[in-house]
């Protein structure tokens, strides 16, 4: 059984933020390799105003994910981000643990 029990209910927070008039994006870990810190299904919600809830790693890539999320909020186009240490140098960040993750970013709209 691999269901993850979140520390916070990210979806409920995202819903509440949107109800309060915020522009919201969701980021979800879709795939992991090696010793990545959070399993597939881990989520983070981000607002245009800079609020964040949940996590998609141990803190290594949240900043870059938030940046991509802000672009998705503006463009409305979802993105599939690839993070790793061994390839994909397009991003300035990676996972110190040597794992790799894919993160899907979508607007809540």
């Amino acid at each position: 059984m691999n269901q993850i029990e979140q520390v916070e209910d990210v979806l409920a927070i995202a819903e509440a933020w949107r109800a309060a008039g915020e522009t919201v994006a969701l980021a979800t870990v879709t795939e992991t390799w090696g010793s990545s810190p959070r399993p597939a299904g881990s989520q983070m919600a981000i607002t245009a105003s800079g609020r964040m809830a949940g996590s998609v790693s141990g803190g290594c890539i949240e900043g870059a994910v938030a940046e991509a999320a802000r672009e998705t909020m503006t463009s409305g186009v979802p993105r599939l981000l690839d993070f790793g240490v061994t390839h994909e140098r397009a991003w300035e960040v990676g996972l110190a643990c040597g794992g790799k993750v894919k993160v899907f970013v979508e607007a809540l709209a």
């Binding site: 059984m1 269901q3 409920a12 969701l26 879709t30 399993p39 597939a40 979802p78 899907f104 709209a109």
Partner: protein, 232 residues
């Protein structure tokens, strides 16, 4: 994700209905399953994700999908609204378990002692019928009283609960197994009971005992070696 789809997902979670949010990558087309209108391969993959309780990517034909399995939270029934239960209930809730405390002794099973926890004062056999343990349920008996613990363990052994634990010394446990044998349970069934309950971390205080119990429940749930019972 559209707000309407998020609302539907949240409604399913609130009603404890197992659902899968399927997202096609990378364009983000989404649907919530089960859905009679879904194509068979997607429906089957979603059913498998729920059964295995694993979220992850799948390739269906030429398409990449991410299947996010939302199963209801695992549940823990604590029989005996005793001191250890007061430590165990909030710690288990923190680990994501839906907690039910069972104790017909109304003086123990009060919302003052167990704030925010589901409490039932029915007799354990009836309470366990209502709790209806399944493969995502754990049951721990803490009363030390055979009149209360035994009916709960009897019901637990007849269920698919993934974890059954009983507080008590080795001597108490041996006597308990003898009584449960008399109720018709065989050795394979009785071997499912973790007793003395919890991982051996030399726990002394109630929160420490609660921690050892929860550590054992997590170990069993995740398939860790230390969750396996030593040969009797």
């Amino acid at each position: 994700m559209t707000p309407a789809l998020l609302a539907a997902l949240q409604a399913a979670r609130a009603e404890k209905r197992p659902v899968v949010l399927a997202t096609r990558l990378p364009d983000g087309a989404q649907s919530l399953l089960p859905d009679p209108a879904a194509p068979a391969p997607l429906a089957e993959a979603a059913a498998r994700a729920l059964r295995d309780d694993v979220s992850g990517p799948v390739i269906l034909g030429e398409e990449n999908w991410f299947l996010h399995a939302y199963n209801p939270p695992p549940r823990l029934a604590i029989v005996g609204a005793v001191h250890i239960a007061q430590a165990l209930a909030p710690m288990a809730a923190g680990l994501g378990f839906g907690v039910t405390v069972i104790d017909p002794r109304g003086a123990f099973a009060t919302s003052e002692r167990f704030p925010g926890v589901t409490i039932t004062t029915a007799w354990p056999d009836e309470a366990m019928d209502a709790f209806a343990p399944d493969t995502r349920s754990a049951i721990v008996t803490l009363t030390h009283d055979p009149k209360l613990d035994d009916p709960a363990l009897d019901a637990a052994l007849r269920s698919q609960a993934f974890y059954i634990g009983a507080l008590g010394s080795r001597k108490t446990h041996a006597a308990r197994l003898k009584r449960l044998r008399a109720l018709g349970h065989d050795e394979a069934g009785l071997a499912r009971i973790h007793g003395p309950v919890g991982l051996d971390i030399e726990a002394v205080s109630a929160p420490e005992i609660a921690l050892s119990i929860l550590a054992e429940i997590v170990a069993v749930r995740r398939g860790a070696a230390m969750g396996q019972k030593a040969a009797a």
